[in-house]
């Protein structure tokens, strides 16, 4: 019997997918786009993401937990579906690939200025391959272990209590905001990733309480973001925060122990655990869709997707370019997370109506 996911696994999985590279820049982005006390903006974004998850919940309920790919294939002819599948798998594979590239570029910037980042990228891809060829149950087990190996870092925020000043949190809210739609979506992409739970339908049952678990995962993300950004806003001056490229790295660098300093060098390595899971889940989703079009062995398909994405990742070679590409892909991802459930709901309602009509 195939083992089903437990609610805790799903919540952790969602948290680990969501928290990725955006976290390194989140306080700066909030300061830039939302102005003073920008960390408060996380709350409406969390609510928005939760609403979107509820939409996915409607698909889950209407479709009785049937795989969305089965729902699509039952009512739409394949020649229309396949190009759409191809686009989806490309978007997700590219997101997965660029996330790991982004991580590698920062690592290179921090510690290995003369090394070719693509060597690290290939090493990371090997790890991604090893994990994505396992079952989703095993991926979720690895995720849980990574979660504990990463979560202790929240305790590091205690280091900043001494230099946290309430006065830096000005009584003004969102002053100096230069909010644009672009900026909003850039920040919102910190929550992106919950849409991948659309593919968890076949791996969950009633005990999984899928939607509640996804909402819980989203809540964990929001709490961690709020806590982290709140500390960042109280630790740095608002103006200073705006100028930092990666506030997370600056914060990590601040931690000094009697026997070790420049801890960001080491602690940044820990973020690999979260990056791997984010990338693996995007690649895994791309693989799940591609499997419907190309029924070949799992390993071969994973290798093909990874190699194709790797080839593509050679193109952007500086962080700003990767950022640019990621923000475009972020739009596509957000469009999918909203459009896909909406389309599926319409489809399911039509099917239901047609079924009712036939019964009459």
């Amino acid at each position: 019997m195939q083992e089903k996911l437990s609610p805790f696994h799903v919540a952790i999985l969602v948290y680990m997918i969501q928290s990725g590279i955006v976290m390194y820049r989140l306080p700066q982005m909030l300061a830039e786009h939302f102005g003073t006390n920008g960390w408060l903006a996380i709350i409406p974004m969390f609510l928005l993401a939760s609403a979107n998850i509820l939409l996915i919940g409607a698909v889950y309920r209407l479709g009785n937990g049937v795989s969305i790919l089965v729902i699509l294939e039952q009512s739409i002819p394949r020649f229309i579906l396949y190009p759409f599948y191809l686009i989806m798998s490309c978007v997700w594979a590219m997101i997965g690939c660029l996330i790991s590239k982004h991580y590698v570029l920062i690592f290179q910037m921090v510690a290995f200025p003369t090394t070719n980042p693509m060597i690290f990228k290939i090493a990371l891809d090997v790890l991604i391959f090893l994990l994505m060829t396992k079952s989703i149950y095993n991926i979720s087990k690895a995720t849980t272990v990574f979660f504990w190996m990463l979560m202790w870092m929240v305790l590091l925020l205690f280091f900043f209590y001494k230099d946290f000043h309430w006065s830096r949190l000005t009584p003004f809210i969102f002053q100096g905001s230069t909010l644009t739609i672009d900026g909003f979506f850039n920040v919102y992409s910190a929550f992106a990733g919950y849409s991948l739970c659309l593919f968890l339908f076949p791996y969950s049952d009633k005990k999984t309480k899928l939607i509640k678990a996804v909402l819980a995962g989203n809540l964990i993300t929001a709490i961690v973001y709020i806590y982290f950004c709140f500390i960042a806003f109280g630790f740095y001056y608002y103006e200073q925060l705006k100028t930092l490229q990666f506030p997370l790295l600056n914060l990590l660098a601040y931690i000094q122990l009697p026997f070790v300093q420049a801890t960001e060098n080491l602690l940044y390595g820990f973020f690999m655990f979260s990056i791997i899971i984010t990338a693996v889940m995007y690649f895994w989703s791309a693989k799940e869709i591609s499997k419907r079009m190309f029924p070949i062995s799992d390993r071969l398909l994973s290798a093909i997707i990874l190699v194709a994405a790797l080839g593509f990742s050679f193109i952007p070679d500086v962080i700003s370019e990767v950022d640019q590409w990621l923000s475009y892909l972020g739009y596509a991802e957000l469009a999918l997370s909203l459009g896909l459930p909406l389309g599926l709901i319409v489809l399911l309602l039509i099917v239901r109506k047609r079924g009712a009509a036939l019964n009459e």
Partner: protein, 483 residues
């Protein structure tokens, strides 16, 4: 003892060959240790291996009753339950091989169990020593080992199943479980896997485990082995199944998880706080073993900025005379330590001590003075070597030591990135491992918070009310005390 003998039996009567003295003797041709005693006046022939039988029992159970009476009385005596009539030649031969005496009377053949070999006395375990608690350990004889367990678990629910492995060695393997506490899925799975083995020889438990484990290519052991009857008894009570191999002083238990290898019976024989502290210390030791030397290599190769200024001076001074890159330096020292360990394990204890002293002086002083390594590396390597021996299970500490080499290499090539990648690869590998089909990472993944109080710490006994969830026991409660 509830022994269910499931040794391979001839499937149908057609395959059976009637046992005869001539046929048996021809089978054992050139086996000079086979003793053949003939008593023509009584029409009795006795066959047995002289070194495998207990001569007192031989005289008491066979010689005296049969040879002192009249020929007419023999058929009546042979009806006694200890004389087992054998109708198949193969069965007779296996019986003689496993220490039974064969009696040929007229056309009939009988087997009598008079097995008795001289074996090592029960002594302390050398690999799993404890400070408090029972000190006896298993021996090479399965019978003794079974009795050590029976002495501790006096329950008719403790079931023992006998299997035989090895086409030539015909080694006895016993599977033990407690009925209504162990999950029968695991019992059946283990029996099925053991029956499936088709090899010529089996000499040790660890050899058997490599035939039946879930992932034969993994570096991690997937069955817990122990030489301590109290530890194995506690596994049975926890709802796990246990296996004993004749000729091996270690028993195995399954299903197991990675974290179980870091617990020792000692933890429960001390106050819970001390037990908890030493268990936590072992997990810290695991981190030290895996990462210390690798971190040294990574920091001194790529990330010098991580060292605070006052420490940097000491480090550069100590490294200034070393002509090799840190990776070679670390590999050289680690290999030396492994050589010392291996030499110490192979040599008799007295010479082993000499090796320790010679090694200590060579590593401690000469290597630094010769400018081959730095002082700080020696401290690092020594700390991680000591930490590796903290793991109570030798098989696990050996696996971890091997993994350490991989991490040192990765740290030498890619610094902290390599270290993180190595740890990630280990976790990915472990996430796919199972022991008898149950997750190797229980209770972390799948998360069973209830079990943490008996895995990462030892909570007061009042709180240890349930068996571990991994054993999926039909009877979960093991402690009903409220206080």
């Amino acid at each position: 003892m509830t022994n269910t003998d499931v040794q391979p039996q001839p499937s149908s009567s057609d395959n059976q060959v009637k046992p005869s003295l001539e046929h048996t003797l021809s089978e054992f041709q050139d086996c000079i240790d086979l003793i053949h005693r003939s008593y023509p006046e009584l029409h009795i022939d006795l066959l047995f291996f002289g070194h495998q039988v207990d001569h007192d029992r031989l005289y008491q159970d066979i010689m005296n009753p049969l040879l002192s009476g009249e020929t007419e009385a023999i058929p009546t005596i042979l009806k006694q339950s200890r004389f087992i009539r054998v109708r198949d030649s193969k069965e007779l031969i296996i019986g003689i091989l496993s220490g039974k005496a064969a009696i040929f009377f007229l056309q009939d053949a009988f087997l009598v169990d008079v097995f008795g070999v001289n074996s090592r006395a029960i002594s302390q375990s050398e690999t799993e020593t404890v400070i408090t608690g029972p000190h006896d350990a298993f021996t090479e004889q399965a019978g003794t080992n079974l009795s050590l367990i029976r002495q501790r678990i006096k329950s008719s629910h403790l079931k023992v199943i006998k299997l035989s492995v090895g086409e030539i060695t015909k080694t006895d393997v016993y599977v033990l479980y407690i009925k209504d506490i162990a999950n029968m899925d695991y019992v059946n799975k283990a029996i099925e896997r053991i029956k499936f083995i088709e090899v010529d020889a089996l000499f040790d438990t660890n050899m058997l485990l490599q035939y039946i484990d879930d992932a034969p290519y993994s570096v991690f052991p997937q069955f817990l082995t122990s030489e301590r009857p109290d530890a194995i008894g506690s596994k049975l009570i926890a709802g796990r199944i246990v296996g004993i191999v004749d000729g091996s002083p270690s028993a195995f238990s399954a299903p197991t998880s990675f974290f179980e290898y870091f617990s020792s019976s000692d933890d429960y024989y001390q106050r819970w706080m001390l037990g908890s502290a030493s268990r936590l210390l072992r997990f810290i030791a695991l981190i030290i073993t895996l990462s210390f030397t690798a971190l040294y290599v990574s920091i001194t190769t790529y990330h010098y900025e991580m060292i605070p200024e006052n420490l940097l001076l000491t480090l550069t001074e100590s490294r200034s005379r070393v002509p090799f890159p840190p990776l070679y330096e670390a590999l050289f020292m680690e290999t030396t330590i492994e050589l010392l360990r291996e030499a110490g394990a192979r040599l008799p204890t007295k010479i082993g001590q000499t090796i320790g002293i010679v090694g200590g002086i060579v590593i401690g002083q000469a290597a630094v003075q010769a400018g081959l390594t730095s002082n700080i590396l020696i401290i690092t390597v020594a700390a991680s070597a000591i930490a590796s021996f903290v793991t109570p299970a030798y098989v696990m500490s050996a696996s971890i030591r091997l993994l350490r080499f991989g991490l040192i290499l990765l740290a030498g090539i890619w610094g902290n990135f390599g270290l993180a990648a190595g740890v990630t690869a280990i976790v990915i590998h472990m996430s796919g491992l199972t022991s008898l089909g149950s997750s190797y990472l229980t209770p972390v993944a799948p998360l069973k918070l209830k079990d943490w109080k008996d895995v990462f710490i030892v909570a007061p006994f009042k709180f240890l009310t349930e068996r571990p969830s991994q054993s999926r026991s039909p009877n979960k409660v093991k402690n009903k005390m409220k206080k």
